[in-house]
Subunit: 171 residues, 4 copies
């Protein structure tokens, strides 16, 4: 629950325009660690509460998607469980983001992007509502309009969905 007094009118205007939320995966859906096994297989650690949040977004007619440079199948595996469209192994995230926005006939100011590291910089700089997780790389500090209170993989995705739901369920 967000204290309405701490949510500026500017933030409310930003959120009201959004139709698409593009999430980076590692460091956003996860705590940015990776578990490495002897055979090179990987695992990641996610937050059980994210699913409830993503369903809220969809009820508000806002589409969540995942865009990741990581090639490992854990990204797809998590996205399938969460029933969210996912594109992984994307080398140039900004180029692909631009295409996605065009394909969906949206404008950049109708898009929120959630990131945690320097390879999210271009995407964050381009969208209408740039969001970083609480424990994002320090160099990203100045390029976000919202920084989550919770860290990646420990509530950040859910917090963003809750924020959208609180503001939009009242319009």
């Amino acid at each position: 629950m967000f204290d309405r007094k701490q949510i500026s009118d500017e933030l409310i205007s930003l959120i009201r325009q959004i139709r698409l939320v593009v999430f980076d995966f590692d460091g956003v859906f996860t705590d940015n660690t990776v578990y490495v096994f002897e055979n090179g297989k990987e695992a990641v650690r996610c937050w059980r509460g994210d699913g409830l949040g993503l369903r809220k977004l969809e009820h508000l007619a806002i589409t969540p998607i995942i865009l990741s440079t990581e090639k490992n199948h854990v990204v797809k595996a998590r996205a399938e469980k969460l029933r969210v469209h996912c594109e992984s192994g994307i080398e140039d995230k900004y180029a692909r983001l631009k295409e996605i926005i065009e394909e969906r006939e949206l404008r950049f100011d109708q898009v929120a992007y959630v990131g945690n590291d320097m390879n999210d910089f271009e995407c964050l700089a381009a969208v209408g509502f740039p969001i970083i997780v609480n424990d994002a790389h320090p160099e990203l500090s100045l390029c976000a309009r919202y920084r989550t209170k919770t860290p990646g993989g420990r509530g950040a995705v859910r917090e963003i969905c809750d924020l959208f739901a609180q503001i939009l369920s009242k319009r």
Copy 2:
């Protein structure tokens, strides 16, 4: 060990009535994270000390059960090790809770419910002794009679069992 002076008479009365403790699983027996593998398999992180606590509850003739919306088999796997009755994949937890209470010929005020997220709201609101874990979703803050000092998956279940044991072993 709980400081007896901090345990109100009201709490003691509540606890003396309880015959059934219904636990949510994720976020209560776990830290609300899930480990995701490349093949989509999952794992969760639990607290070794919970087993000792659940055995104490049973010695006090109080039945612990687990009720979860999660379908993944990790819930059942942990419940089997802990030797606790478990129902997972339950879409409507309140409806099933109501049935369970009727089947066992109990009243709602003889039941404690332990939860951590919004899908526990209805169950918490209905039972005699609603309990939330220390790191529960902020929107649940006002609907509990007891909030554990320890977080989910890091002692919360054990703390609740210890609380019951301390009060009831003296009656």
Copy 3:
């Protein structure tokens, strides 16, 4: 490195008598959590630095052993890697501790015991040098002569070995 001024003469005397250090496993070598997989298999999280510590103990002619009630094979698996004698699945730890001490022709005051939960209580109460980990169950607080600064599975075993080494390498 321990500040010599903070190590009492009493502690030094206690440590000089010790020939055997008996470690509980879960909560001492681990952070007291267990990872549960869909097929019921388990994993635990240990500290890489413990191996160096145990080798130091052996160079001081002090034998480390592991005594655990847990039946799961992870206990033995970790003990094998650390090359430490291990007995797991022990229902009555105090009875077995007594036998071990007799078999090795030692006295209780020549033994240190390291524990973290209530099923370690009897063993801690019996030995000459009872030790608990920093994050031990609160009911154990009063029954130890030394409480580690580091938590179980995050340096506690190593800290104990370092303490012995610092004191005994100077005698």
Copy 4:
């Protein structure tokens, strides 16, 4: 981003000489814990952001390598993903470090070494730029010229790479 005012001229001179950065693995690329499975297999927890950092180092013509006493294959598995040369199962790290430096026709003052525990002591004492992670063993505190702000496995490798990049991208 490092506050330039907090980076001494001495540190800048040290870094300008470096051609090779030798990293210990456990406690540097990981949080110094190991996950142990029932069959004795192991896993470790690494930081997703390290890859971006290592690529930066290489662009500056500085070679990163991993040198570890650990025999388990997880070390090699992680090194392969990060595309970094790795030597594991090395009993005498100092002897091997000396050979590596000779093979590459470098001098000790052109080498940085990153460690976290006592078996890194000799290497740290020998190189031109000794670095320890924030949560290194306390006995190493005095033998480093730089201590990372972030812990091992939670940003330490990346922080070191970022530091090199910030200083060297301006020469």
